[in-house]
Subunit: 339 residues, 2 copies
């Protein structure tokens, strides 16, 4: 779908949004060095980019300790999702719900038979492709690593597409690139979006056994990742330490925010990350969202359009102690008003 995703800040104008809880991406990262670097890279604008970003793929593969042909860089993880769905055209796909809507959308485009599963136990024997977001979105839960490893091993007949976009936002263990490559039935999806807080750039990548990636690579169009995105990615990967994410502290703050919202009567699901799924005891998240943006300049993610969720569901990501308290107070104010 091209509408209905989170971080719809463009609808309201950046100036109307003082606190953006809608995006589960770190706030407050200083991109001055990156912007300065991009300003100096006029060749990234005046020359064609590489048809496929091979130099960046080598850099990511080197970092992950895998062979270069085990990494495919894409225009955001979203392009990888569409390439995989196209390569697996018409197959039966199990989608672990609720989750990012693009897995099912891409599978629909390529005429998959889609089975929506609310738990790993529901994955049907006939599933040829299994789509799992881990850590999950919108819940922020991480699947126990041994459980997932066991499933991938047991179901060697199915391809597991495991989207680890949020892996840097948890301290719990997730699958490594090397482990994914060793399986011949796993494609890991990653993105620089969350790791470096650059959702505007659209740089994702898939990691897996070369033969598996070849099936999606056969469908690639040239130049899908533009010059500034490639330049920015190479710059950021060279400065990883400066972009280190303190997942532990963020998670502690997420627990504090959860508690604060729960005390208001909001049901908050347990999370292993910096964001959490919430459910209002009454009223709609849509109405809460409109009120918060108008009255407080606070943007939240109306989560009602996730499969299996209700009009009362919304998602927020921690934005720092002070901002989080402002959110708690504002939600409390709205709830007392609507009673």
């Amino acid at each position: 779908m091209t509408e209905g995703h989170g971080d719809d800040i463009y609808r309201y104008g950046a100036s109307a949004v003082r606190y953006n809880f809608s995006s589960n991406i770190l706030c407050g990262v200083d991109h001055t060095p990156l912007m300065r670097h991009l300003a100096s890279c006029s060749e990234a604008v005046t020359n064609y980019p590489e048809p496929v970003p091979a130099a960046l793929e080598r850099q990511l593969a080197h970092e992950a300790g895998v062979e270069p042909d085990c990494v495919t860089v894409t225009n955001g993880a979203t392009e990888a999702i569409y390439l995989i769905a196209g390569a697996m055209e018409g197959m039966t796909s199990a989608v672990l719900q609720p989750t990012f809507s693009e897995y099912a959308d891409a599978c629909t485009l390529y005429r998959h038979h889609i089975v929506n599963c609310m738990s790993l136990h529901d994955i049907p024997a006939e599933a040829a492709v299994v789509w799992i977001c881990n850590p999950g979105n919108p819940c922020g839960r991480v699947i126990d690593k041994a459980v997932l490893d066991g499933l991938v091993t047991r179901r060697g007949d199915a391809v597991f597409v495991i989207d680890q976009a949020y892996a840097d936002y948890t301290i719990l263990p997730v699958m490594t690139a090397a482990e994914a490559v060793d399986y011949d039935n796993v494609i890991l999806l990653n993105s620089l979006t969350k790791r470096f807080s650059v959702p505007g750039l659209r740089i994702g990548y898939a990691t897996g056994a070369a033969a598996l990636l070849d099936r999606m690579r056969a469908r690639r169009m040239p130049w899908s990742v533009n010059g500034p995105a490639i330049e920015a990615a190479r710059f950021l990967l060279g400065r990883k330490q400066e972009y280190a994410i303190d997942a532990r502290t963020m998670h502690e703050e997420a627990l504090r925010l959860s508690d604060g919202l729960r005390r208001l009567g909001v049901a908050v699901e347990p999370t292993d990350c910096n964001f959490m799924l919430c459910c209002l005891p009454e009223g709609s998240s849509r109405s809460l969202k409109e009120w918060l943006i108008e009255r407080h300049g606070i943007l939240i993610r109306d989560a009602s359009n996730f499969y299996g969720l209700t009009p009362a569901h919304f998602r927020v990501a921690v934005q720092g102690r002070q901002a989080d308290d402002i959110l708690i107070n504002a939600v409390g104010q709205w709830m007392s008003l609507s009673l």
Copy 2:
């Protein structure tokens, strides 16, 4: 295909290339204001772009004097080509050859029956889609407007995909956006790449009747055009006068360069643009290309992989009187060496 296109400057490193004749894109455009603007747009990096670049679409539609839903912005014209081929899956496609290879590649991916045509007269009655690059690439010829209009009208049963990427490089008349919208069987492809000399950004767009574009829009993935590309496009469109292209002067220089190469014994096809298709009397363009880059830092486009062309074909675009004379002298030197 992801390899074999022109402007493979990334293979040699920008520093090895002193004269880039391989890309038919204007050289020497001063992008300082654009780069300064991009440096100031950190929100284009820190926020998600619009899922579809609707604001940019409205701007382009307004400029062209058509309704907003008659314009679809894509990740380069290449994404439009793949979306159209997907929407017309399995149909019979006529491709006017020799031309940009992505039309046939996209049609192959989506299992079209492809008929390669060397002239407009060869287009078979059963063609449901007709792919025409006008002005043509690699030849730089413009189809007589009355002839093309007549064909589009007569063949109302077929969809004409007319790629006008090079329209700003000729003074001859081509189809306008308003004309394309009035037909219900034309999709015009355009790009900011050539108009503003920004191949690194990947901003293309399709113009046509809304119902026709809806078929490709149904296949779009979100965020395919990234934040810096959208920001740059909006900036450039607001400064059109500063990027005015002197197609007449460039064409005069193209005729001079053609004459110079012909005097050496190179066969040069007539062109209406700033670039031209050449054919060596003996030896291969591949060998000429390697020699030119090593000895003179000159990059040309080996055109041997265009459908219907031979190992002796290459393409060059004018780079200004002085550089063009250096090319003529260098080609002459190579030809005398290899005799």
